[in-house]
């Protein structure tokens, strides 16, 4: 993290992480343009959780809001990490997919509508496993449909991060924004520790975990477009800028050869130290349209 934290000014910021999901979503919109769709008073709850002794939540942990951001049409979908770890179930998955599909329809009808996903999620909700997995497939295809017309921005602020199937959804979005406190990965640290033991991976060791999944590392690896401090104003500005910027020339997930070449170039015969960034940041071209340059892949592996 930056040297900012050794100064008192850091304390004056308005933390984005500390905002709950609904407040996060609301904070991104131009003043008084936001309205919530399928909100808690519509009581669209998970029918599966009560059967398993889990109290459902009136919005199923997924908040959908529509309005304008920097004067442009946008929909924000925020996951509530405080409910079931932000896990995707049948209802929350359907809310997200429908929001993306409506944005896609509006965009096709000449009203470009960007989508911002505020991801605090461990992935598929275990209590609704198969339905959640199906939802992830739908979400991914809806993102890919929308991103032809308007940017889809994934924001991973923390503290939960973005894991499991939803990390794939983030991967196909147009831009990824993270804070240093955010984490992005397929298998979460607790899962790996449980499967392979604490010797292999100590999920309670924050510096180890963040050196692998953390925002700074993901940014250095070129998997993230913008790294922002935990500051609500910076976050709002970043999202507004990216929406204004529009669709990237080429999406990250279309650059299969680039990423494949990086993986093949990795020397896996020795144990990597997570503190050493896998691909040297200096020789690294940002692989999305935001800062697109021709790349010389051969130079990008470790030195």
């Amino acid at each position: 993290m930056s040297s900012a934290i050794s100064s008192r000014e850091y304390l004056q910021r308005r933390s984005f992480i500390e905002l709950d999901a609904r407040t996060r979503a609301k904070s991104l919109f131009d003043s008084r343009t936001d309205r919530e769709l399928a909100g808690p008073f519509d009581r669209i709850e998970s029918p599966w959780l009560p059967l398993q002794g889990v109290t459902p939540q009136a919005d199923d942990g997924c908040i959908v809001m529509r309005g304008t951001i920097g004067g442009r049409q946008a929909v924000v979908i925020a996951f509530d990490g405080a409910f079931q770890g932000g896990g995707i179930g049948e209802v929350s998955g359907a809310k997200l997919t429908s929001a993306l599909d409506l944005a896609c329809r509006d965009s096709q009808e000449g009203k470009p509508t960007s989508a911002v996903l505020l991801l605090e999620t461990g992935g598929v909700r275990l209590q609704e496993a198969n339905l959640g997995l199906a939802a992830v497939a739908e979400i991914i295809s809806s993102i890919i449909a929308l991103r032809q017309y308007a940017p889809v921005i994934s924001v991973i602020a923390g503290p939960i991060g973005c894991f499991g199937g939803m990390s794939l959804a983030a991967g196909v979005s147009s831009y990824i924004v993270m804070t240093p406190e955010g984490r992005l990965g397929l298998n979460g640290p607790e899962v790996i520790e449980e499967e392979s033991g604490v010797e292999e991976f100590d999920a309670s060791d924050r510096s180890l975990i963040w050196s692998i999944y953390g925002g700074q590392q993901r940014y250095n690896q070129g998997l993230v477009d913008v790294l922002v401090d935990d500051d609500a104003n910076q976050m709002i500005e970043t999202v507004r800028d990216l929406i204004a910027q529009g669709i990237p020339e080429v999406h990250r997930s279309q650059q299969v050869d680039l990423y494949r070449s990086r993986i093949t170039a990795l020397d896996t015969s020795t144990q990597w130290d997570p503190a050493v960034v896998l691909w040297s940041a200096a020789s690294l071209a940002r692989p999305t349209g935001r800062d697109q340059r021709p790349t010389d892949d051969k130079k990008e592996h470790h030195q």
Binding site: I5, S6, R8
Partner: protein
């Protein structure tokens, strides 16, 4: 008629001194001054200790003489066995391996947190004999009375060639342990991280020390008092607000000790925000007996805190402390001088209030952290968490707890327990019978290992409200007051609405609204720091958290 000795001169009055001389001479070949060749440490222990000796192994809940304990495990049990160990905190696996190997047989201790399961098992298998479980001060007191040590194994940061020791910020228990041996012809063996020509300051004079050995690696140190503000939840914040309003402000608490936990961390982080908004700065919480909790940094930086005396130090806090000598006790070298015994005494006699938490509490407010299968011991909590009847000086808070005026009434220390009615996983914190009762019986202990006795507790704070137990008249009313704040736990279900209403009217029970605390205001935005990064920022970069707490 005065009894005359039968044969003058036949009895030696210097047996301990002679025995000490004999043993230390036997290791002379490996010594240069007091400095022992590290390769010979196991051989030296075999000669300096004798089977059946009473040996103190320094290991409190922060620093550990781990080079000496790892070396002691390597002695030949045929040569050295049946030691009586005195360990304030049984923290390291080899502490118990000593018993499995037969090198040690009996133990007197205070705390066994990390090893509490294995200790209970060894006790059941008859491999270990427990003298007693003590509080810290109590154990050190016995070193001077009936548990006088033959040998003490301690640790220091540095030594010079004369054997002077620098124990630095983590001085902790070393002075009292060394004193008990050095002045009663016991042998003092110290492990040090480093041997240098000059010491920053002398914490233990060389004339008290017999053998110094350089350790293979710096002594082990655990960051036990660091709580990540990210893990503080809204209920803990609500309880913190109630403590500030309903206890600190109400009774004018000037001096205090906080136990370690997220509840007390929340209070520390609420002082510069919520406390400030109530206009309480400079009016409460000015003097502390406290480990250097990182969560106290914002209160110190905002000018709430006038002084802090410390039991020990805390990993990552040393530079911050050194830069705030007006607040902390520091030596000429600028670094903290902690002292567990003195701080325990200070926390016992010189503070208005103790605030702590517990795992279980019964209907009479007795509490214990001993739960099924675990023999965790007490540490220092009972010293802080009782009303010392030897206190004679008055303070506003102490006087405020006199329930009814009387010419010879004495004041009372505030002993506050902050307890959420349920733990995660839906197990109630308020129970009919403490697990400690069954654990004590199974371990053959003469009394149940109760940490804080109910009659010492003046206030219990839960997310429901505050029970001002000291105001209750009689045992029955005390029970009703506690039940009124015990939620839907087995104890709380006994509360009757009409009785609770009457108790609230008389001020024996207060719910948040009764003391002007708004439940909806209780959220994390009230915390002065909400992450480790915030604490670093408050310290101006002087606090350096241990890696496992850092995500940057």
């Amino acid at each position: 008629m005065i009894n005359q000795p039968q044969e003058t001169g036949a009895k030696s009055w210097t047996t301990r001194r002679e025995e000490k001389r004999r043993r230390t001479e036997s290791v002379q070949p490996w010594l240069k001054g007091p400095i022992l060749t590290p390769e010979k440490v196991v051989d030296a222990l075999e000669l300096l200790l004798k089977s059946g000796d009473r040996v103190v192994l320094e290991g409190d809940n922060q620093k550990q003489a781990d080079f000496l304990s790892r070396s002691l495990v390597k002695v030949d049990p045929k040569k050295l066995h049946d030691l009586h160990l005195i360990i304030s905190s049984i923290s390291r696996p080899e502490h118990l391996t000593l018993f499995e190997l037969g090198i040690a047989k009996k133990v007197d201790f205070s705390f066994a947190g990390p090893q509490s399961l294995r200790l209970a098992q060894l006790l059941e298998d008859g491999k270990i004999e427990v003298g007693a479980i003590h509080t810290y001060v109590e154990l050190y007191a016995r070193l001077l009375i009936d548990l006088i040590p033959d040998v003490v194994l301690v640790c220091a940061e540095r030594a010079d060639e004369q054997g002077n020791l620098y124990t630095g910020p983590n001085t902790e228990d070393t002075p009292v342990i060394v004193e008990a041996a050095a002045f009663h012809d016991g042998i003092v063996i110290a492990q040090v991280n480093q041997i240098t020509d000059q010491l920053p300051r002398v914490d233990i004079p060389g004339s008290w020390v017999d053998v110094v050995v350089q350790a293979d690696r710096p002594f082990a140190l655990e960051p036990l008092f660091t709580r990540d503000p990210r893990k503080i939840d809204d209920l803990q914040i609500l309880m913190g607000m109630m403590v500030i309003r309903g206890i600190y402000e109400r009774h004018n608490v000037q001096s205090l000790n906080h136990g370690i936990g997220f509840g007390t961390a929340a209070i520390e982080l609420l002082l510069p925000t919520y406390g400030e908004s109530l206009g309480l700065k400079g009016k409460i919480c000015q003097h502390w007996a406290l480990n250097p909790h990182p969560t106290l940094i914002p209160a110190i930086e905002s000018g709430w805190v006038k002084s802090v005396h410390c039991f020990g130090s805390e990993v990552g806090m040393d530079d911050y402390i050194a830069a705030r000598p007006d607040i902390f006790f520091t030596g000429r070298d600028g670094r903290l001088r902690s002292n567990r015994v003195l701080c325990q005494l200070a926390g016992q006699y010189a503070v208005d209030a103790f605030v702590g938490s517990t795992l279980q509490m019964d209907g009479d407010a007795n509490s214990s952290t001993v739960t099924k299968g675990r023999l965790a011991g007490f540490g220092g909590a009972p010293n802080m968490g009782h009303d010392p009847h030897g206190r004679r000086h008055a303070s506003p808070a102490w006087l405020d707890l006199i329930p009814s005026p009387s010419p010879i009434a004495r004041g009372r220390k505030l002993v506050v327990q902050v307890v959420e009615t349920f733990h995660s996983g839906a197990s109630p914190a308020f129970v009919e019978t403490l697990d400690a009762v069954a654990v004590g019986q199974k371990a053959g202990m003469p009394i149940a290992p109760v940490m804080i006795y109910g009659d010492d507790v003046s206030h219990v704070v839960t997310e429901e409200g505050i029970a001002y137990l000291y105001k209750a008249e009689g045992q029955e009313e005390r029970r009703r007051a506690l039940a009124a704040v015990a939620g839907v736990s087995p104890i709380g279900l006994k509360a009757k609405p009409a009785e609770t209403a009457a108790l609230r009217k008389r001020g024996i029970v207060a719910y948040p609204e009764d003391i002007g605390v708004h439940r909806l205001q209780a959220n994390r935005s009230l915390l002065a720091a909400r992450s480790m990064e915030d604490l670093v920022a408050w310290s101006g970069g002087l606090y350096t958290p241990p890696p496992r707490f850092k995500s940057w």
